[in-house]
């Protein structure tokens, strides 16, 4: 069979997927770009062309800058914590102890819990009147009176980050554990014979096997964290005093609560651009890491 026919056949086989992608991704994305240059409302008015006014307005808005800082903080802290705790948990799960198989199986629990259920669960744990966290800390004697963890601007974002970490570190742990199990036994044994200490063994023997999978997990988690919406919407809706309002929450409010489709679209595209920059950096990092090994 000729090469052109095979290529044509491939495109024909991809036709259904391409049609779907154009209908539900391509067209909406293009229309978001169009809307971002108009003053359209979500319902009713079509809107007229206003040039880059929406972009100028959004970029100069202090709400945007604050949401950008909040989002970056959320993403950096939660992903960093997930990576560190995840790798430590994986190193532990790779040791010998009683009940290891069971504990490995349990790691799937937080990952499998739906995001909204996780958010609801932590909202209940943080409850200012009857929450388990207040009860536990008071009963141990670490806390004098009940606190409103999600109700105070000083603690709400940290409380959210803890809830997000709890759900996501086990995934990092499982990925890291799979990588650890690929480290050949004789290499670790040889490094022991050569007298390498625990730190050097981790740095020079184990880390090369972990780096690739961890890098992928790191950047995918960062992109996910940058887009965060569900957990924040359910736990705080961006409050108190907008202290947990991330970019996605801001877009939601602009486009759907205030029904300003035009400026909401421009804000959404700014977020998209930021995520794209992250994704491109990711591709470059992964290629570099693949070239290095």
């Amino acid at each position: 069979m000729s090469g052109t026919w095979i290529t044509t056949r491939a495109w024909l086989l991809m036709l259904p997927l391409l049609a779907v992608m154009i209908a539900v991704i391509g067209w909406p994305l293009a229309d978001t770009v169009r809307l971002s240059f108009t003053d359209a409302r979500l319902v009713g008015t079509e809107g007229s062309f206003v040039g880059v006014e929406n972009y100028a307005k959004m970029l100069g808005n202090s709400n945007f800058l604050r949401a950008l800082v909040t989002t970056t903080w959320f993403a950096v802290v939660s992903v960093f914590a997930e990576m560190v705790i995840g790798v430590l948990a994986a190193l532990l799960l790779n040791q010998q102890f009683r009940g290891r198989t069971l504990l490995r199986a349990l790691m799937i629990l937080p990952w499998a819990l739906p995001t909204v259920v996780n958010a609801t669960l932590w909202r209940l744990i943080y409850n200012p009147e009857y929450g388990a966290l207040n009860a536990a800390l008071t009963q141990i004697g670490l806390l004098d009176g009940y606190r409103s963890w999600l109700g105070e601007p000083g603690s709400a974002l940290t409380a959210l980050i803890v809830a997000d970490c709890w759900k996501n570190f086990p995934l990092v742990a499982l990925i890291a554990l799979a990588a650890l199990q690929a480290v050949p036994r004789d290499i670790t044994a040889a490094s022991l014979v050569d007298g390498a200490g625990p730190f050097n063994r981790f740095r020079f023997v184990i880390m090369p096997y972990l780096a690739g999978p961890l890098l992928v997990a790191l950047v995918l988690r960062t992109i996910e964290a940058f887009k965060v919406f569900d957990i924040i919407w359910v736990m705080t809706r961006g409050g108190p005093a907008n202290s947990t309002r991330t970019l996605s929450i801001l877009v939601y409010q602009e486009a759907f609560s205030f029904q300003r489709a035009g400026s909401g679209a421009s804000l959404a595209l700014i977020v998209t651009l930021l995520v794209t920059v992250l994704a491109v950096a990711y591709a470059a990092l992964v290629r570099k890491a693949a070239g290095a090994t």
């Binding site: 290529t7 979500l42 102890f97 997990a217 919407w233 759907f256 995520v275």
Partner: protein, 281 residues
Amino acid sequence: MERQSRLFSLFIHACALLLAVVILAPVLWLFVMSISSPADLSAKPLNWWPDEIDLSRYAELLSTAQNSAGAAFVASLFNSLTVAGLATVAAIAVAIPSAWAVSRTPSVSWSLYAVIATYMLPPVALAVPLYMGLAHLGLLNNVFGLALVYLTILAPFTTWLLKSGFDSIPREIESAAMIDGARLDQILRLITLPLAAPVMATSALFAFLLAWDEFFYALLFTSDQRAKTLTVAIADLAGGRVSDYGLIATAGVLAALPPVLIGLIMQKALISGLTSGGVKG
């Protein structure tokens, strides 16, 4: 095998115990809340284990009596099943031919990267036109409309997973059948697809879990019992004026049950999918 000193072994066991508590405590607490009486839950100091096990909320949520909390919950349960089921079937149907084509035709493999790239798009970048489009088609607050929107997530995702599945099936088997005079549809139907059955099942499960988990689009595009999914129903409960926290916890347990069971039973397949195919979004 290195011999572990007694102290080190003790340290490892202590750490393992700590990890088990960290993982289990919140999940167990969700369950305990669902079976404690309202009085136990509002007691100070808190009752960590109920005096009497109270299963009435499960009965309440799973009852279909008119206008009860159960009617709304059961409706959202069926909506979630319908939307996730429809979206999964549709996604797998469009993903199979394209994943096979990409796997067997290196000259078009770049198109896969374009498909994967869309997976990185934040949903907010598509939400406004999708809302207007669904409104135009009369598909707002409709399970078919929501399932269609879920293809934005599921179609790229399943194509990606299936492609790596097809990659692991040797092309030689297909070439041999072709030399024997089999047509393409026969090769796919009789040889490739049966061999790819396990990876297709894993991909379908992943897709189903993703749709089951979805919240953002469901929040935007559904408004009442006709289409509201479980995640939206639970967020409503959590953010509403429900005074019985046990009821919220019970809804959470019921919504978590299917994915947790799938996760525990399919652990091996899921983890190999996670590590080869990437990460659930």
